[in-house]
């Protein structure tokens, strides 16, 4: 039975190729989720109340300071100010080697919108949220 070994070898080869592209060619937006996708996913999880899962998007340093309870408190404070979030879309911002900024546009009741900016940092090839920016400041613009 050769097929499982061929499949396993193919998978390892593809993962090796990906590692080469991400780390060797410094891919930051194609084969890894770009900063705006990370921010969008993060805010969607907050909006759905999945705070524990949202912490997966935080950088190692941010995880030391921010836990699920903190995210819940900040999200509830935000929604008290803006009203319930109806939809979220990520918007690209600036990118400088391993640092980036991206924002999330929130769709709110009465066709209002608000923007939340986040700073991100690249860890192990993936973008992670390093600073909660507007969310922590309670200042959706």
């Amino acid at each position: 039975v050769k097929a499982p070994w061929i499949l396993l070898a193919s998978l390892i080869a593809v993962l090796g190729l990906l590692a080469g592209v991400v780390f060797g060619l410094d891919d930051r937006t194609v084969l890894v989720p770009p900063p705006e996708a990370v921010v969008e996913s993060f805010v969607r999880k907050l909006e759905m109340g999945r705070y524990e899962l949202a912490t997966d998007h935080l950088s190692e340093a941010a995880k030391q300071q921010i836990d699920a309870a903190t995210l819940q408190r900040l999200t509830e404070a935000l929604e008290q100010e803006t009203g319930p979030i109806q939809d979220v879309s990520g918007e690209p911002g600036t990118m400088n080697h391993d640092q980036a900024q991206a924002s999330a546009t929130l769709e709110l009741p009465d066709q209002r919108t608000a923007h939340l900016r986040f700073s991100l940092k690249r860890e192990h090839g993936l973008w992670r949220i390093h600073g909660l920016g507007d969310l922590a400041a309670g200042a959706a613009s």
Partner: protein, 166 residues
């Protein structure tokens, strides 16, 4: 989101899935058994996330890889062991034998008479009395063998008639 990134991700996902399907065999595409169908179903859902950059390509590769490996090992297991085969694929169930409906099989597979008649019509059979056996296979398709008198005449039948006349 940049269009070139989406195009590159789509190209990567297409080439990777093509490679995986070629390596793991033709069964998955055929969807001939429950595990093939299941693999195709999950695969169809997984493609969405890397395309929009929601997960990294590496996460996609690992998810697809584990799924296809499980599919392949299950398929091998069911080939090697009849017991595993029965558990994974189920057993074919006879719905008609010698022109008579098998009510027990129909109840087991929750097929009513109208549905069975429709399935037989798809095989160009109007009357269940024409059927020697009709079996609901593991794939969910109906396998039908007709009784000799109901089968369309073949070339060899003509030869038999000729021989009988001589």
């Amino acid at each position: 989101m940049r269009l070139t990134a989406i195009a590159l991700r789509a190209l990567f996902a297409f080439l990777f899935l093509l490679l995986i399907l070629r390596v793991s065999g033709k069964r998955t595409i055929g969807q001939s058994t429950p595990i093939d169908f299941l693999a195709a179903l999950i695969l169809g859902d997984l493609i969405d996330d890397p395309l929009w950059g929601e997960v990294s390509a590496a996460q996609f590769v690992v998810a697809v890889g584990v799924l296809m490996m499980a599919h392949l090992l299950t398929a091998i297991g069911s080939t090697v062991s009849p017991l595993v085969g029965r558990v994974v694929h189920g057993v074919p169930v006879e719905l008609v034998r010698d022109g008579n409906l098998r009510r027990d099989g129909m109840r087991r597979e929750r097929v009513n008479e109208q549905e069975l008649t429709a399935l037989l019509r798809e095989k160009a059979i109007e009357d269940e009395r024409e059927v020697r056996t009709a079996t609901l296979e593991s794939s969910g398709k109906l396998g039908v063998l007709q009784r000799n008198w109901a089968r369309e005449a073949q070339k060899q039948d003509l030869e038999r008639v000729r021989e009988a006349r001589q």
